[in-house]
């Protein structure tokens, strides 16, 4: 059983939704990334989604664009991200790590070389934002041969046929993009999300995560009520940005914020942070 599978199985048994927390590797500085990952886990994250910096993050909003720019000022490469996961794994063998990024850096490394290096480092899943299933015949077999889960996006614009085809190719979990827009956008339409998640769950036994637009404890708790995973990115990254000059305060604030999300999702805290 893969780390992602056992993570979701365990949570399902407890009747809880997973908290998937995103940071961009190398933001604000490569020296802080490992500590940030640990802070996410201490705060109660079940899965870490680690952004791989790319110069042209077409699907990301301004908050994550700036995070990527901060990381790229230190020339953080895909190799560096894999080295980071390897160091994280030396102390944490249970928390799944999913890489989220764009295809070009992976293509430059080579699909087979990337898949074996990622597996060796302890990566569990790979989400390549700009690689729809139609263009995945190069990378996905390489990931599968190393036991890595290809994570796919589903969107409000995905019709029933696409949902079925994508779920058939996916493993680990599927990632429902809750809004038409980029990461960090506003206007979460809960009723729309509820209906679409139900439609997806009718097609697949895979866990369904919901991301894009979850900004605080209240929205996290609401999504926890209707999906298997709550994916939070920009809301965490903007805290990192605000405290980038004060690493100790930044780590504490990120951990507190994640704790507040976790507690709200578990229904043990008022929905205000």
């Amino acid at each position: 059983m893969s780390r992602l599978e056992s993570c979701f199985a365990q949570l399902a048994e407890q009747g809880r939704s997973a908290l998937v927390s995103y940071i961009t590797a190398g933001d604000p500085h490569p020296d802080h990334s490992l500590e940030l990952m640990r802070a996410l886990v201490r705060g109660g994250s079940d899965v870490i989604e680690l952004g791989v910096p790319f110069s042209d993050p077409m699907a990301d909003g301004p908050v994550i664009q700036r995070a990527v720019e901060r990381a790229l000022r230190h020339h953080v490469s895909l190799q560096d991200v894999l080295a980071l996961v390897k160091r994280f794994r030396q102390q944490d063998q249970t928390t799944p790590v999913v890489l989220m990024g764009y295809l070009n850096p992976v293509e430059v490394m080579g699909f087979a070389a990337f898949a074996s290096a990622a597996a060796a480092a302890g990566v569990d899943g790979v989400l390549t934002v700009d690689m729809p299933p139609e263009e995945s015949e190069g990378l996905v077999p390489a990931l599968r041969s190393q036991g890595l889960d290809p994570i796919y996006l589903l969107a409000p614009t995905s019709d029933a046929g696409r949902i079925q085809r994508i779920c058939a190719q996916a493993s680990g979990f599927v990632y429902y993009v809750s809004i038409k827009g980029v990461t960090g956008a506003a206007h979460l339409d809960l009723e729309g999300v509820r209906a679409k998640v139900a439609e997806i769950k009718a097609q697949t036994g895979l866990p369904v995560g919901v991301g894009f637009g979850i900004r605080d404890a209240a929205t996290a708790a609401a999504i926890a009520g209707l999906a298997d995973a709550v994916i939070v990115g920009s809301a965490i990254v903007s805290r990192i940005e605000q405290l980038a000059e004060d690493p100790q305060a930044m780590l504490a604030d990120v951990e507190n914020f994640v704790t507040s999300l976790r507690q709200a999702m578990d229904g043990s805290l008022p929905l205000k942070y």
């Binding site: 699907a59 190799q79 729809p132 263009e135 994508i166 993009v177």
Partner: protein, 406 residues
């Protein structure tokens, strides 16, 4: 016929999912897959609709001023002492360049699809102006994304777009240039897919854009092929066009692809020289990768990050190139060469002084290569050059290179 190419190329590419051999395709986030499919279906329907095609033809004639003439540059040819040089005068089009051929086609398609809002990216501002122009005429809302660096250095075009009623949004992310404007336009599109049509300005982006923009631009090559046959009773021996994204080049080349006797040259921007690293020549000095929705040759570093490009000509200053050019290069059907800033500027002055035609700096790259090629050919042979735009927009750049301030 070049080895490795089947007898006919025209009509064979791309495949149903937008592939030109290993290049092209659709590399976008899931949210855009449905709108791209909607666009593909609409385009496939209307490209065979006589009423739609007649509407485009009428606009190209009455509004753009087509057909554009072929001009025999006799003085320049005799000074170079080799092949006869002919210019396809896209510089005479309304708005001053070939860009409008495409924006008319896409804007009319947008209207048929019931979209009320047009967005576009622009580098130097030529595509932005051509888009704002057709949006004004059709009464559509228009938003143009432009890198903040380009907004500062292309004030006149920013003002033109505003006069035409467009909103110009300066893009401050990344390198603040054309590639970042394209990212931002994609982000707008994904957010406003229901009412918005994204008019891409070149033969790049996800399928169906490279094929669709090519089809709208092939009016250049179709006219030119007939004009050369009517004038000389034979086809030109060589075609030369500049390549940034490559829309003017593919527009000229495409109708000649099955004419094996016609040698084809695409000219990239070598900037300060290919060895300097300061250039915009992905086909000559880059390698394949994935950017902006398609697989093609790119300018990138060893980590796969896209690097900043340099050319004196803003219209060629782009780190990618249309996927069909990538395929034409690998297949050997077309040759890709590069011309430096200095060589392009010299050709700019040559054409201006010898023929009384002030070319765009982009087109000057094609002229500079033709200037090298002509003396190696005989006076019975001919070279057809795409004069893709006029140089009015470049007065400040050329003057500044010569230490003058206008």
């Amino acid at each position: 016929m070049t080895e490795g190419i089947s007898e006919t190329i025209i009509g064979k590419y791309p495949d149903s999912r937008g592939h030109f051999g290993p290049y092209g395709g659709i590399f976008v986030a899931e949210t855009l897959m449905a709108p791209l499919d909607e666009l593909r279906q609409a385009y496939e329907r209307y490209r065979q609709d006589p009423a739609f095609l007649a509407e485009i033809d009428k606009d190209l004639q009455d509004y753009v001023g087509r057909p554009s003439p072929i001009y025999h540059a006799e003085r320049w040819s005799s000074e170079l002492g080799g092949a006869q040089l002919y210019l396809k005068r896209e510089d005479l089009n309304h708005t001053g360049a070939h860009k409008v051929n495409n924006t008319i086609g896409q804007a009319l398609l947008a209207k048929r699809m019931g979209k009320t809002r047009i967005i576009a990216e622009t580098g130097a501002g030529q595509h932005g102006v051509a888009t704002a122009t057709v949006a004004a005429r059709l009464g559509l809302e228009c938003v143009v994304y432009m890198g903040a660096v380009d907004v500062a250095r292309q004030e006149a075009n920013v003002y033109r777009m505003k006069l035409l009623g467009a909103t110009v949004v300066p893009v401050t992310s990344g390198s603040k240039t054309l590639k970042d404007a394209l990212n931002e336009a994609m982000r707008d599109w994904v957010t406003n897919v229901d009412n918005t049509f994204y008019i891409i300005g070149t033969v790049a982006g996800p399928h169906p854009y490279p094929a669709m923009v090519r089809d709208f631009q092939t009016v250049i090559g179709r006219e030119a092929r007939a004009q050369m046959l009517a004038r000389n009773g034979k086809l030109p021996d060589a075609l030369v066009a500049c390549v940034g994204g490559g829309s003017n080049a593919i527009g000229l080349f495409y109708p000649f692809l099955d004419d094996a006797e016609v040698t084809i040259y695409g000219v990239e921007a070598a900037g300060d020289g290919l060895d300097s690293g300061h250039h915009a020549a992905p086909l000559c000095a880059g390698r394949p990768g994935v950017l902006h929705g398609n697989r093609t040759y790119l300018m990138e570093d060893r980590d796969g990050q896209i690097i900043e490009t340099h050319s004196v000509s803003a219209g060629l200053d782009y780190p990618g190139v249309g996927p069909e050019h990538a395929w034409l290069k690998d297949s050997g059907r077309a040759n890709y060469v590069a011309i430096t800033d200095a060589e392009a500027l010299a050709a700019f002055h040559s054409l201006t002084r010898i023929e009384g035609i002030i070319p765009a700096l982009e087109s000057s790259h094609a002229l500079a290569y033709a200037q090298q090629l002509a003396p190696r050919m005989s006076p019975e042979q001919s070279i057809l050059i795409n004069l893709s735009g006029r140089g009015d927009k470049d007065m400040h750049t050329v003057a500044a290179r010569e230490g003058l301030k206008l």
